[in-house]
Symmetry: D2
Subunit: 281 residues, 4 copies
Amino acid sequence: MKTFDIDCKLVYEVGGLAEFFFQIEAARIPEHTILSESFEVTPSIAVPREYLPPNSHNRSLRVHAEAGTTSIVYRARVVRRFEAPDVDAPELAIAELPDEVMQYLLPTRYCESDALFGMAQRTFGHLPRGYGRVQAIVEWIREHIFYQVGQSDVTTTARDVLANRVGVCRDFAHVGITMCRALNIPARFVVGYVEFEEPPPDFHAIFEAYLGGKWILFDPTGLAPVENVVRIASGPDAMDVAFATIYGPARMTDIQPNIGEVVTEAARPLASEPTQVPLAA
Amino acid sequence: MKTFDIDCKLVYEVGGLAEFFFQIEAARIPEHTILSESFEVTPSIAVPREYLPPNSHNRSLRVHAEAGTTSIVYRARVVRRFEAPDVDAPELAIAELPDEVMQYLLPTRYCESDALFGMAQRTFGHLPRGYGRVQAIVEWIREHIFYQVGQSDVTTTARDVLANRVGVCRDFAHVGITMCRALNIPARFVVGYVEFEEPPPDFHAIFEAYLGGKWILFDPTGLAPVENVVRIASGPDAMDVAFATIYGPARMTDIQPNIGEVVTEAARPLASEPTQVPLAA
Amino acid sequence: MKTFDIDCKLVYEVGGLAEFFFQIEAARIPEHTILSESFEVTPSIAVPREYLPPNSHNRSLRVHAEAGTTSIVYRARVVRRFEAPDVDAPELAIAELPDEVMQYLLPTRYCESDALFGMAQRTFGHLPRGYGRVQAIVEWIREHIFYQVGQSDVTTTARDVLANRVGVCRDFAHVGITMCRALNIPARFVVGYVEFEEPPPDFHAIFEAYLGGKWILFDPTGLAPVENVVRIASGPDAMDVAFATIYGPARMTDIQPNIGEVVTEAARPLASEPTQVPLAA
Amino acid sequence: MKTFDIDCKLVYEVGGLAEFFFQIEAARIPEHTILSESFEVTPSIAVPREYLPPNSHNRSLRVHAEAGTTSIVYRARVVRRFEAPDVDAPELAIAELPDEVMQYLLPTRYCESDALFGMAQRTFGHLPRGYGRVQAIVEWIREHIFYQVGQSDVTTTARDVLANRVGVCRDFAHVGITMCRALNIPARFVVGYVEFEEPPPDFHAIFEAYLGGKWILFDPTGLAPVENVVRIASGPDAMDVAFATIYGPARMTDIQPNIGEVVTEAARPLASEPTQVPLAA
């Protein structure tokens, strides 16, 4: 159990009427307790509205903007619980998979698991089934794909990444997801905040695979331990969980998605004497 | 559009292992924007967890406590939008009511609309149907039921209130709901924060009736304008929306559910120059 | 795994415009496969509509009727899977109960578990916790409450039944639920079809308790094995799952909720040669 | 209001253990009343299970099969209500769109509305906004894309169809959806049963656009009136609503998705004398 402070700032130059949908809030999931959170929008021409789709933990913040500079600051203190994964977790047979995870076996826009079926089978089909096979996919990606910013963009799919052998965290995650699905392992995309040494602070993308009846996190970039990721959202691929979706003329001029671990009494479980959880402010 | 600051403190003496379920957080509904919120639990032996039932806006905070003093402080800044009710809103025929409101016509533990069918018909059956009839119910309650603290408790039902002609806001709301349901008008219980002159700050209970295809708020106590109520939760009756449900040995020693309106630039709609929304802290 | 044919007919004399809500269809739950179903409404002045509340398996059929005789016939063939209960299932501590079952600990209109807390503690509080304690409640009800038709009605609550010591299946279930809740065991009401020897065919009410992380069925009447009940709906108590809720002038003139087990090849699991599942008609 | 009989048969040669997910059942939506339905699976080695995702009307039938011939027959009688579209329905501004339709503006695997943004703007950007513009898209598709079976497959996307100018109903729908999304009109894919003169009976794909606050159906193929389509499912594109998704070795050997209109008293609204709705069998 760790406690993190998030301080995320996004700034846009807006050229006219625009509608923003931000996914930057910590997810409301059992693994999180959100001790405090706040946001500021400048200018305050319209108060943001939050939208939580039914049966989802992906919170979306809708902001209506006019011409000028628009900024949003989101701050939160989040306690994050983490259970170490079972490294012996088996792959389930299709017949054992629950109905609600079946959608995570389908190809999606960025994860063409049908087109890459043969590649996945040739590369990973012979390996022993289970947690170790997904771990092998992760290591293969780390070994074969070059991590470099600026060589991929929002149109880049797993097939492109495998062809060009270069990408960033989102591309790495898409390849991992695609390989899993092609092997009949349900897999989905996860975005969140994480504290890096290098590169500078940014949103981070990892993925999770459904093994032994649970979702288990994997990070093919190896940039940070998965237990340090504070989840924002998850979905079939990056399309569903963009940190900002914008309709109208707008250009991002600043992005600072900061996060830092809090060393606090709050994280000490089962303290016998009273301890005060300080406010985030 | 108004902005409110909530500062709610509850303190309990706990005699042993206990499990608390608090409903004290501002509801996540389109009429609210929660600019900031935080909570502190003392001692922090276990971090609270929030539960949001599917297809509901009633947030529940679950806290596991041990022997000793347990307190919870919830603070929030909430922008509350309010649309003036249509005073010509009609009662809909049963055939016109949507499926999802039908449950609010059924009798419940505190609102015995079946047993009070005759009374409702005799008293309000002859009045013109529509918003005005619900308003007449509200005025009848205000005239015939004496508002007094300490004459009713958690077992008191609408039938008891009508017999004894005394109660508090929750009892007034139960009577209003019961009369509506007995006239085939869907009605439900609403709790929230409100700023009173008198009595001292407390949670407040009102009700809403389904008229002309919308839920419209009514306050039979007349203690405060309904647009000043920041909703916590709604449900069939008070049973579902208790501010605290406790399993285990615990005694409340302090309750301070404060709320105050914030006079701030944030509430100025469509300001042309940038304005800063200050943090709640 | 057993296969049942349901053939349910309800007839009403309707005096004018009326709106009916029937809960008579087999529940769409994992334990059921509905091989076929159909309904006929006479006269067909309006086609019924089905309503399935979000996150519920309680199907509701809405029928708009005019003056005259209105009848509805529902027929279905349902395969019902059944897992024998774990007779060693423990009662979970409150802290172990999942959020979504907490509502089944609250008192409801027919199950005043708060008012009957002392009675439950005195009678069952000393017994060893677990499946056996719920079984003891069931046996106590069977021994102390006289099963007799016509001595209770739709206003009868668990408290009334305990006072008068007489009732029918719905009353028996209400007492069982109330005792469980007063002992902090989540419990809910279940209605369905069942084949009786005696009395004549009718809807049947039983209850289920949450033990060891699962819902386990109990029938305090002992009239039929619970694995022979084809579930229609479940809810906090009988109020939520009435087989008919009627708004408008109507009088029931016939009720025939028939069910019979089908001895068919369809029920033979893992047959190696092709077998044909015949239609219900 | 029309009544249709569906009689759909699918046959597969299965080479070993396989898991089938069929989406062939009439959707449970307010526009449909399903008077009767049944299915038969041969051989009956395992009874199918139905899955209805939360907040969805897309029913899915899960069948576990072993080596041999596996067939499924689905029969239903469905009353289908239809409201003529408002041909003056406006396109809503982004700011006016409800949260829950925003997902239908995003590019998907088969509908690359981002990549085709320029094409859509050049071709339809100058047209008056509203129902007429979507109708213009439909007519443009009908004029520019050649309807021919066998020139496209399950990997064909809208971009491919626009390049090759050939496709079937699903391709036509994908192009229509893509153009709408590129113009900021929410659009989604709809599959169902429809009675054709030519070609032989098959599942049919059309699309719907969100105009004036409602979903309005369009059929770019012009093969049948949209009011004759009995909906099975809808989703972002064809990926989510395949009539069969199969895991394991299986080959389709027969497909007969028949539908026919029933000329019956049941379709006569508000008949004053009793009329009997005959069973489908």
